[in-house]
């Protein structure tokens, strides 16, 4: 939501702040989230792990970089080619905001997969995740529109978002590695125990 609020500010110098521009931004973000949810859910079917989860965070952070460095020339390029501010803002928003928002959308279903322990508790897990993500959206909206734009420049706020996503990704990677070690330790012990048991069994 923080990114979405900033989207309006970034597009305004080129396409104005008319109702169409906001319509374009919301459309692109909603479309991106729907694609993100779908592909995040699909991705969670193949060897889900905390490490991969962390990778999604890091990729989403990296997709913000073109927004910081190239959004203006992209907007300029679209502005020169499409005169109608409705389609101009729609195309420009698609170029700049679609991919980062798709990747961010993948986080939610993947989190559900990681957190779900059993089918019985899956509803509770999903409910908790919706709670966290929607609360996060509310905080992102209010912080951006009430305070962050007063404290920082638009690009600085995007860097700030980048840092949070990248940091969260790194934490997940570290946790994933630790988890892997613990798992391999357990399985090694398990194998040792198994071999001991089989030796004992053969002695008996």
């Amino acid at each position: 939501m923080c990114f979405e609020m900033l989207g309006g500010r970034m597009l305004a110098p080129f396409f104005g702040s008319s109702v169409y521009v906001w319509g374009s931004i919301i459309t692109v973000f909603m479309l991106a989230l729907s694609i993100g949810y779908l592909s995040g859910g699909r991705l969670s079917l193949f060897n889900p792990s905390v490490t991969r989860f962390g990778c999604i965070f890091i990729v989403s952070a990296l997709t913000l970089l073109p927004t910081i460095f190239f959004s203006e020339p992209i907007f300029e390029w679209v502005f020169e080619r499409i005169e109608d501010p409705r389609y101009g803002s729609l195309v420009a928003a698609t170029f700049v905001f679609l991919i980062p928002s798709i990747v961010m959308g993948m986080i939610a279903p993947y989190s559900i997969r990681i957190l779900t322990v059993s089918a019985d508790s899956s509803g509770q897990t999903a409910g908790f995740l919706y709670f966290v993500s929607t609360l996060g959206s509310a905080i992102g909206t209010i912080m951006t529109s009430f305070y962050l734009v007063l404290w920082m420049e638009v690009n600085q706020i995007i860097w700030f978002t980048f840092a949070i996503l990248f940091g969260a990704g790194c934490i997940a990677l570290i946790l994933g590695q630790l988890d892997n070690r613990v798992q391999s330790e357990i399985s090694r012990n398990f194998e040792k125990d198994n071999s001991k048991n089989s030796k004992l069994a053969s002695q008996v």
């Binding site: 305004a12 110098p13 396409f15 104005g16 109702v19 009430f146 734009v149 007063l150 420049e153 690009n155």
Partner: protein
């Protein structure tokens, strides 16, 4: 008991009556942005955006008894620009309102081409219907965001001798029309020695930020401080030096008489005093929290 009841009833009816006398709503129309309302009170017809707030800002007003009289003080200030350039060939007005300024300028310089830009089609429609907004081969209207119009005009290498920024009357300030980048674009549209008159705010923390931004783009500024209202008109020039704000010529004084503009009063309120904090931040496309700054005193 009866006495109390009668007091209550008379208070209620007085309240109702006062509301009625305050401003009679004669028309209301919904636009994609807001409800636009036309009111009449003591023969003054105004256009305003519907709000539940107490401090209502009118977008435009005319005196029905004397339609030539310029009701808004800031408009008196804007016309002082004729002293700098008595013969503008192309005029751009960003923010139409009732079209009052456009009408007056068309009368004062009938040879000039006037382009007015407003984002809201309903505002334009009601300006035509209730404020006698005149359009002809010299005067035309564009329904667009001001920034988009300016950017497109730059691509077409258009030039204007006088640009009037009048898009800041509502409760919500269009923040992309307050930044250094926007003002540089506006300056790029000005012909050599072209002038800018911007109707802006004179209170809140925004004052310092806004003034510094204009100063950085235009250098020397002159300001007209409306005597009783919170408006301030900033004059900037696309010229080498803007050393002096010329006095009103005799012909200008006589022309302005029709609109009940008192040149002595207007020129008394014009100064080049820098009364803002010059170390304030400049508003840019990256940093323009104008609406938040407006709330801070």
């Amino acid at each position: 008991m009866k006495r109390y009841l009668s007091v209550v009833i008379s208070l209620i009816s007085l309240y109702g009556l006062s509301n009625f006398v305050e401003a009679r709503q004669i028309h209301k129309e919904r636009s994609i942005y807001r409800n636009v309302v036309i009111t009449e009170e003591n023969n003054i017809r105004c256009m305003r955006f519907e709000t539940r707030r107490r401090n209502i800002t009118n977008q435009a007003c005319i005196d029905l008894k004397d339609k030539d009289r310029l009701v808004f003080e800031y408009a008196h200030g804007v016309l002082a620009g004729y002293a700098i350039n008595p013969n503008p060939h192309r005029i751009l007005i960003l923010g139409l309102g009732g079209g009052v300024l456009s009408n007056v300028m068309h009368q004062l310089s009938p040879q000039a081409e006037i382009v007015s830009v407003d984002i809201d089609p309903v505002v334009v429609k009601l300006a035509r219907k209730y404020f006698d907004y005149q359009e002809n081969e010299k005067v035309r209207t564009e329904i667009k965001d001001g920034r988009v119009y300016v950017k497109r005009a730059l691509l077409k290498n258009e030039k204007f001798d006088w640009i009037i920024l009048d898009a800041f009357n509502g409760d919500y300030i269009p923040e992309h029309l307050m930044t250094k980048e926007f003002l540089l674009e506006v300056k790029g549209l000005l012909s050599p020695n072209g002038i800018l008159s911007a109707n802006t705010f004179s209170n809140s923390k925004l004052y310092d930020y806004e003034s510094v931004t204009y100063q950085q783009v235009f250098g020397k500024l002159y300001t007209f401080q409306a005597p009783t209202k919170g408006n301030r008109v900033i004059f900037g020039c696309n010229c080498e030096d803007f050393k002096k704000f010329p006095n009103a010529s005799e012909s200008l004084v006589s022309q302005l008489e029709r609109y009940k503009v008192d040149p002595t009063e207007v020129w008394r309120a014009i100064s080049d005093k820098v009364d803002w904090n010059t170390s304030s931040d400049v508003l840019t496309d990256q940093y323009s929290p104008a609406n938040l700054l407006k709330r801070v005193d």
